[in-house]
């Protein structure tokens, strides 16, 4: 899976949690909480969805890893090895 594919899948899950967020409108460095206004419940729901989709665990302490689409692509790629 390339980073672009990971990013696209990540944005798909973001859109599932907040249907009004159009993946096409999200910048690579948009912060999910500061810029897109997701709250902690949304973030936890997103982590849960990503865990299922990619078969990875994202511990609480590493939440910052998925703070933006760009960082998430790198973080998830690292987890997938």
């Amino acid at each position: 899976m390339t980073r672009d594919e990971i990013k696209a899948a990540f944005l798909e899950e973001v859109n599932r949690i907040a249907p009004d967020i159009d993946p096409a409108d999200v910048g690579d460095d948009d912060h999910l909480q500061d810029d897109l206004e997701l709250d902690s419940m949304d973030i936890l729901n997103l982590i849960t969805a990503l865990a299922k989709r990619f078969g990875i665990e994202i511990p609480d302490s590493e939440t910052e890893g998925i703070a933006t689409p760009a960082s998430a692509a790198g973080y998830i790629a690292g987890k997938l090895g």
Binding site: N15, I17, A18, P19, D20, I21, D22, A24, D25, Q33, D34, L36, E37, L38, D39, S40, M41, D42, L44, N45, I47, T48, L50, A51, K52, E57, I58, P59, D60
Partner: protein, 410 residues
Amino acid sequence: MGVFTMPSLGADMESGKLVEWLVQPGDTVKRGDVVAVVETQKGAIEIEIFEAGEVRSLDAALGETLPVGAPLATIVKPGEDAPEPAPPRTTPPGSAAPPEPPTPPATPAAPAEAPAPAAAPARHPAAAAGEIPAASPAARRLAAEKGLDLSTLVGSGPGGAIVRADVEAATGRDRPGSAATPPARKQGLDLSAMREAIAAAMARSKREIPHYYLGHDIDLQAASDWLAATNADRPAERRLLMGALFVKAAALAANKVKAMNGHYADGAFAASDAVHAGVAVALRGGGLVAPAIRDAQTLSLDALMEAMRDLVMRARSGRLRSSEMTDGTITVSSLGEKGVDSMTGVIYPPQVALVAFGTPRSAPRAVQGEPALREVVTVTLAADHRVSDGRRGAQFLAEIDTLLQHPEAL
């Protein structure tokens, strides 16, 4: 024979627009079934029915904006004969093969006496400009996902109702070149209308309710440590948020200090035996809703967390239920991780208290006579002076404090 009417979904609601029937004449319904979808200023709400029986007739047409209390359907209770003639309709029940479940009944009941501007005889273009047309649930959901305005589509379903295939066809048409696609919109949510609704309810609250306010700092270190240890061993789907501990502690405290929990109506307070905790959910882009979690005082933290997750997901996608909008007996507002230290809330009538938890922060506290850095949260109570006074309010906040010192017992 019962008449199912347009429910009031909150202090601020005067009317709602019927956008979808999920039952048709002849269907059997039981208490709690979702039978219709109504568009309100707070988005699309699934309307539940509170009596059991058989749907005899649908008495309101899709697209009609109807005042609270207007008849929507006639329900025959089990064992009743139903001698009374239903309003005339174009299709006799059971004569032809009824439409399959996913498509809503296509024939609206005749307008009868009710003002029915939308009940035009020919429903071919799915709706007149600006109206919400008849559409199947799947079609509505897909259209919302794609940011499509249903009123721009022509339905191919029975009676011109829009079905999923129509939306798919339209998105296929519009998709390439996403610049041409309309900006993504929240499902059926008109933010200026919601702002008006919030303004009306809050103005009424401030006009009628003599608020008093109390604030209290709670040492959250024990709860915070417990939460971190608990979550460390859990997969994401079973993790808890501090917000769940707050709601549980507030619900247990409200169950003990009854003057915080119930409804004030017609000049009198009626305490509630159960705590239906309205959980304030800020909607992205503005506005908020506070759907209720029933019997929150009896739920385990895990069950409560599950209910809160589900509520937030459905608030985002516009699928809250009518009972959730009205059942709340107290509101809990939690500012989350990225907020400010405290908030002084406005009570949501007919409730009599709102408890707000600020964003937890690290702050110096005296611990056994020594200064120490501790996790701290400021909790603020807004309560109704017609029902309680500061002493009772203080008791309530002190109880929350005590409960949060023993998170494992919540």
